[in-house]
Symmetry: C3
Subunit: 200 residues, 3 copies
Amino acid sequence: MELQYALELIGTFVFAISGALAVREKEHDLFGAGFTGFITAIGGGTLRDILLDSYPLVWIGDIHFLYAILLGILAAFLFPNLLSRLRKTFFLFDTLGIGFFTVLGVEKALNLGVRPEIAAIMGMFTAVMGGVIRDTLTNEIPILFRKEIYASACLVGAVAYLLFDYFGLERNYNLLVSMSIIISIRLIAMRYKLSLPRLD
Amino acid sequence: MELQYALELIGTFVFAISGALAVREKEHDLFGAGFTGFITAIGGGTLRDILLDSYPLVWIGDIHFLYAILLGILAAFLFPNLLSRLRKTFFLFDTLGIGFFTVLGVEKALNLGVRPEIAAIMGMFTAVMGGVIRDTLTNEIPILFRKEIYASACLVGAVAYLLFDYFGLERNYNLLVSMSIIISIRLIAMRYKLSLPRLD
Amino acid sequence: MELQYALELIGTFVFAISGALAVREKEHDLFGAGFTGFITAIGGGTLRDILLDSYPLVWIGDIHFLYAILLGILAAFLFPNLLSRLRKTFFLFDTLGIGFFTVLGVEKALNLGVRPEIAAIMGMFTAVMGGVIRDTLTNEIPILFRKEIYASACLVGAVAYLLFDYFGLERNYNLLVSMSIIISIRLIAMRYKLSLPRLD
């Protein structure tokens, strides 16, 4: 459990960095970059918890999350070039992050008593809606609508978690397996530039 | 009451179809289209219920709404051309839908104990905010700001419902009359290309 | 306390005017302008209260706020040219407004029991998020990302309020001093076209 908590803080830290760096080519000043990092880091979990009426929100109830975000923003301010050069590393972190937060989001929703179908949606929202809100605020086409297999990988992993859970797989194994499914789909999709067909 | 419930599910189904088809000319893949259909269908009622602190949200508490949405998305995937050719039919469904959901939204807000002025706003939000959120996410000018008399028709119908209610009109008649007002305004505005004046 | 309540209503009135006038150069009709005024006036406080689970929302629990907004929209409809010519006056009002609502937002959040770090963010959100939501809906780059020192002035003032409060400054003095800090930063930034550095 302590490992999980540490990973949640690290994931929040990484999302804040990538959010702050996402507006680098734009006209945004430092404050705007920090704000964007903040929104990216909290957006998904906040939306999930508002939809499920789960209060206090994670980052409001536990100040460590805010500190993780501030550290991430600070890192983006101090080492923008270094971190941007680590783009590939960050892509990997982001992929690990969406896998991790999807599965935790599913679990939290289940614990709040919703049906599995709803929990799957909540898991995906947890992982991707921070980026969607960020992109909407900065007038970008949201990541959801442009990237190769991104949110859909999260949804597949969320459903996988629910199926494995239904068939009695132990929770920690399930976390790992379902995360791996999301990460694998995403990495394979990026490697081979796979995308879903369009509606036409 | 059962008729009303069936109509709510059908309205949700139709909104999901029109939402999924709304991004057809865009770069969105199937997942993006489904996501857009989902947001369009739940957006208005979800915003209303969050603003009024009414939990669980309708689609989270009653899984049938999610199934209606999934069916709508599936229909859009399987028969996009057929459904797009039914554009006129859909325009009619959408018009029926905003009339219906406006009046139900007003009623729900009243039942939650807010003042009539607030209930009128909530009715309009129920009907139009799903489309507004959809358009914002997909970088369109929201429907509210570009269409001939759209949200304003809902607001007029919402106020009509409140007035008739105040003067004691029986609830089911009131539903029908107020819906008809919204639908008539919208159809007449489209037929004669009426629009409100601009601010200048 | 009555003075404060009167100022809150006046601030809401002014935000509604400036929101309605903000879309003047756009294609929006009167309804769209009114809607924009409404969103601008309620957006920040609404977001704060949803994040903090504080219900009923201010404008839903106290109808006077809705009337202040409707009066503001009406004023914008009746005297658009006069009010637009008062641009400088409005800039001043807006600056007073963000100072005032920041400090009230901090105070409200503290009263709801959150930590000071969170209260500072809530104060800034109260002041600026109405404009951010307005700009997002109307496809503008949000004010936060383009204006010289705007939201950051609010954040500085919010932190100042918390520090003075910590050191025991009497509440009404603190309100005035912290507001003055925000207003001074904003005015000086505008006068000398100061802006924060960019991230590069």
